[in-house]
């Protein structure tokens, strides 16, 4: 592999990693606050993609309007899932909520099959993300430039919110002690709802940019990115937003490098995420940035 090819792979890894990161943020935020792995997160992403598809294809909206509209509606879906499925189980054993999350996941997938049909739909890449830049031997799609930039902006915005605003303060307090936060006059349901809204909106965005990369969507498309983003969140240290982005990038780079260095191993690409997951769970279960778990 020469220098140009290497650089090419770095860019590919950065793009893929940023997509995992966008999706992993939602996993990690919900986990940070409720200690719940929201396994329906990937399917929420799928719904977000279909909403954007409807916006763009059926209603002829410009891409940015379809994106923003989908993010808003998907945020609403996330809030409704929390209120309908998870809130009644807030004081139940954690495993009940986890099983419910898997149930919500199956429900969304099958509802998607019924409503949208099983045949994939073509997802167009808007012009702005479809420019091809040629720098010497290097060929870069504008999509690969924008996605990492957007991810970096999202991360900066979230860190500002978590560490510099009162809402973020309430979130950090809530992640430690759901009961005592109520004694501060804080409506915990509202804070949790906002968390689901943000996570789901980012899942929609991540999914839409994902669909622009592999330009088709189907009702089961959320499963693999969802699981891999979950792995990314664990790699980075679940509950930690910076960790989610870091974990996403690590996973993205590892996958791309596996395929680049050993093309004959390309078929194991999806398995790699789970090998990494098992390795981390064995040797560093708190993830790259994870701290000692509070007892």
């Amino acid at each position: 592999m020469d220098g140009t090819q290497f650089l090419q792979q770095i860019i590919n890894g950065l793009t893929l990693g940023s997509l995992y990161a966008l999706i992993a943020i939602g996993y990690t935020m919900v986990y940070g606050i409720l200690r719940l792995i929201n396994f329906a997160h990937g399917d929420v992403l799928m719904v977000g993609c279909y909403l954007a598809w409807f916006g763009a294809v059926q209603f002829g909206l410009p891409w940015w309007a379809a994106l923003v509209g989908s993010m808003a509606l998907t945020a609403l879906l996330g809030v409704l899932i929390d209120q309908g499925a998870y809130r009644p189980l807030r004081t139940a054993p954690r495993i009940s909520a986890l099983i419910t999350a898997i149930g919500v996941s199956f429900f969304l997938e099958n509802l998607g099959l019924v409503i949208f049909g099983g045949r994939p739909k073509a997802f167009e890449r808007p012009e702005i993300f479809n420019q091809l830049y040629q720098i010497g031997e290097l060929r870069v799609l504008s999509h690969s430039v924008w996605v990492p930039i957007i991810t970096a902006l999202v991360l900066a915005g979230l860190l500002w919110m978590i560490y510099r605003t009162r809402l973020g303060m309430a979130m950090r307090a809530l992640s430690r002690d759901l009961v005592t936060v109520q004694l501060m006059g804080i409506d915990t349901n509202r804070v949790v709802a906002i968390t689901f809204a943000i996570g789901s909106a980012l899942a929609a965005a991540g999914g839409i940019f994902w669909a622009m990369k592999y330009p088709q969507i189907n009702p089961l498309m959320g499963v693999l990115p969802g699981l891999k983003a979950f792995v990314a969140a664990v790699l980075g240290g679940i509950g930690n937003v910076v960790g989610a982005v870091l974990g996403g990038l690590v996973l993205g780079f590892c996958e791309i490098m596996l395929v680049a260095l050993w093309p004959e191993m390309a078929g194991y690409r999806d398995a790699l995420a789970f090998v990494l997951l098992i390795g981390f769970l064995l040797f560093r279960p708190t993830g790259i940035l994870g701290q000692e778990l509070p007892s």
């Binding site: 307090a173 992640s175 430690r176 004694l183 501060m184 006059g185 409506d187």
Partner: protein, 235 residues
């Protein structure tokens, strides 16, 4: 100010409270004493809105509040300092205080409240940027009290504020409770340290297995033979 009538709380098959009547008048210090498991914390939990009562009624400032959410009651000045302090260990001292006044208008008033808390607890001022988890037990109790004061309580409830503190610190906590009371805050408190609590309380209630078995003025209770034997360690 607070009126509890025939209150009952059940956890599954266990009757934690039964037929509890209790009143707290404006300006009083009222204390609950009783053994572990007598239902004292459950009673404060029910009044503060953290625990749903299964029977009875609670009124605060003349309005029924039975079953209201804890966050709503805190905003109305009915504030609980929970057992074990429960400061937010991952937040700074200052952030803990801001959360205590989360629902109040931001800006000058909040600044003034915080200055007042720092005035009452100079140790907190020194450590305002420090993570609350790094404070000593006594300092955490000060922070828990200061955090509650940030919400401008009218009725302040405290669950075992002296638990696990060194004797010198216990005396300081009781001094602070008295000062808070002098500023016009009504106090309802649970104490293991019955002697110290009855010394500052106007009235007290004795709980046993979920029922009020005795009530009276602080002096009456302190001189009652049963209380002396069971809670004051006298023969």
């Amino acid at each position: 100010m607070l009126e509890v009538r025939n209150l009952g709380v059940r956890y599954g098959g266990i009757q934690a409270l039964q037929g509890v009547d209790l009143t707290v008048a404006q300006g009083e210090i009222v204390c609950l004493i009783g053994a572990n498991g007598a239902g004292k914390s459950t009673l404060l939990g029910a009044v503060s809105g953290l625990i749903k009562p299964t029977a009875g009624a609670i009124a605060y400032e003349g309005r029924p509040i039975t079953g209201h959410k804890a966050s709503r009651l805190s905003r109305q000045g009915l504030i609980l300092v929970p057992e074990g302090r429960r400061v937010f260990a991952n937040l700074s001292v200052e952030e803990n205080l801001i959360l205590g006044g989360y629902f109040r208008p931001r800006g000058r008033e909040q600044q003034a409240d915080m200055a007042e808390v720092f005035d009452t607890f100079p140790r907190l001022a020194e450590r305002r940027r420090q993570q609350a988890g790094t404070l000593s037990g006594g300092e955490q109790q000060m922070l828990a009290l200061g955090r509650a004061l940030m919400g401008r309580p009218r009725l302040l409830m405290m669950d075992e504020p002296s638990l696990g503190l060194a004797p010198l610190m216990v005396a300081e906590v009781f001094g602070v409770i008295r000062r808070i009371h002098q500023r016009g805050v009504t106090v309802l408190l649970i104490e293991q340290n019955a002697a110290a609590a009855l010394a500052i309380a106007h009235r007290g209630y004795v709980l046993e297995v979920g029922r009020v078995v005795l009530s009276g003025s602080g002096q009456e209770l302190a001189s009652d033979g049963r209380v002396q034997r069971a809670y004051l360690g006298m023969d």
